[in-house]
């Protein structure tokens, strides 16, 4: 055993992949060679300290929910790609699903064509114009949904903003906004989703999601926005959650004060 062998075998030694005889030989050499002993000790110490750095635990439930949404989206896209859907809309959707920019441009193009057609045709409420308008609406909705699934927080934020511009958004948009509120990793995106959900406050699913989020969200900014949401919508079912927040000593002081304010408002409303 020579000093150069220590260097060559060190990684295997640390990983525990040396045979018994190789390990004994290496340790025996280190006993008689101060330089190799120091090398071995230093590397072993760093290896051990690295093992002491705790692992972060992911939010597996939220991640699985996002994964399922992504998988469902791909399944829908595959159905739309089937030859039986060989229409212009199917072509647009196929490309729009992978290219939000193209999607946006396509939507604008269809919109412009729609306006021109609308100007040129009398009466303006012809079936063709109506159909084109419907397609524009569908495309805008898809742009919004697609953006909300993006990796970048700024793209998801755009998706939430787009949803606010939709005339009559479908249930998918509302569900996506609720999912964003519950699971998005970025606080700014979650805050934007609360604003976007306000226009759907008449829906039971939205109000109950807001109450659920109030009980689970830990960001003070999001908690404050949710308190305002349930007060504005006079959601009396949120009272028990608000009371829990108000007396929870682990909750931010400003949030607790806001929760108390919310309780006062709801009880007197």
């Amino acid at each position: 055993m020579q000093c150069k062998d220590t260097s060559a075998q060190l990684a295997d030694y640390l990983a525990g992949s040396l045979s018994d005889s190789e390990r004994t030989a290496l340790e025996g050499h280190a006993q008689s060679c101060p330089a190799c002993r120091e090398e071995l000790n230093r590397a072993s110490q760093m290896w051990r300290l690295l093992g002491d750095i705790p692992a972060e635990r992911p939010d597996s439930r939220a991640m699985r929910a996002r994964f399922d949404a992504m998988l469902a989206g791909r399944a829908v896209a595959r159905v739309e790609r089937s030859p039986s859907m060989g229409s212009f809309v199917a072509w647009m959707r196929r490309h729009a699903a992978v290219q939000p920019l193209l999607q946006g441009c396509a939507a604008m193009l269809v919109l412009l064509v729609g306006i021109q057609v609308g100007r040129g045709i009398r009466p303006p409420t012809s079936p063709e114009v109506h159909e084109l308008s419907q397609e524009v609406r569908d495309l805008r909705q898809m742009v919004s949904l697609s953006l909300m699934q993006q990796e970048s927080a700024s793209e998801r934020l755009k998706g939430v903003s787009w949803s606010s511009q939709l005339d009559r958004p479908g249930d998918e948009v509302v569900s996506a906004l609720i999912d964003t509120l519950m699971h998005d990793s970025n606080v700014n995106v979650r805050l934007a989703s609360i604003d976007a959900l306000k226009r759907f406050a008449d829906r039971d699913s939205v109000r109950s999601a807001a109450i659920q989020a109030l009980g689970t969200q830990r960001s003070p900014l999001v908690q404050m926005a949710l308190i305002d949401f349930v007060v504005e919508t006079r959601e009396h079912a949120a009272l028990s959650t608000l009371r829990q927040l108000a007396k929870d000593s682990t909750v931010n002081e400003a949030v607790r004060a806001r929760a108390a304010w919310g309780i006062d408002h709801l009880e007197t409303a």
Binding site: A43, M46, L49, L50, E56, P58, D59, F67, E151, N186
Partner: protein, 196 residues
Amino acid sequence: MSVNDEALMAAVREGDLTQLGPLFDRYHVPLFDFLSRMTGNRHVAEDLVQEVFLRVLKYRATYRDGARFGTWLFSIARNARADYFSRRETTMPLSEEALEAPDAAPGPERQIEMESESGRLRAALMCLREDRRELLILARYQCLKHETIAELLGIDIGTVKVRVHRALKELREIFLQMAERPSCNVKTPQRNWLII
């Protein structure tokens, strides 16, 4: 008895997308661990795990019989992470830094963390050259065999062993320097621990 990873991935490749679910359940935690240790940001790591599985779907036709699924998956993860940071460096405006910031205020927490040995080592690891850090994370936390790491990184096994040794030496130097001056004075594209 559970179906092995390779059989599940072969089914996904043939169009049975539901078989990706068990693979997600098996691998999202080790992937998250790798990506969170590489980026130092759990939010980015969670987003990147989604991106990795999106790419698995997108490129499923390229999965070849006989290839180890884990190795293939981690090669996708490495690319996804590299793409994320190259995009950030070339296109992301300054305001994005604030947008990507985590919920809690990091300052005092990071200071407290730096006072512990583990916290200081975590910071030192983030200051280590990116390829060295990746190698140590794969070897120490993912417990990958040297031949698997060699296959993943496209280098020979002897080089892997030499680089593990070298990376530990460099890490120790940074770690010791940080005991006196808690800042990252090694030039590296990753400086996340200072800003998040």
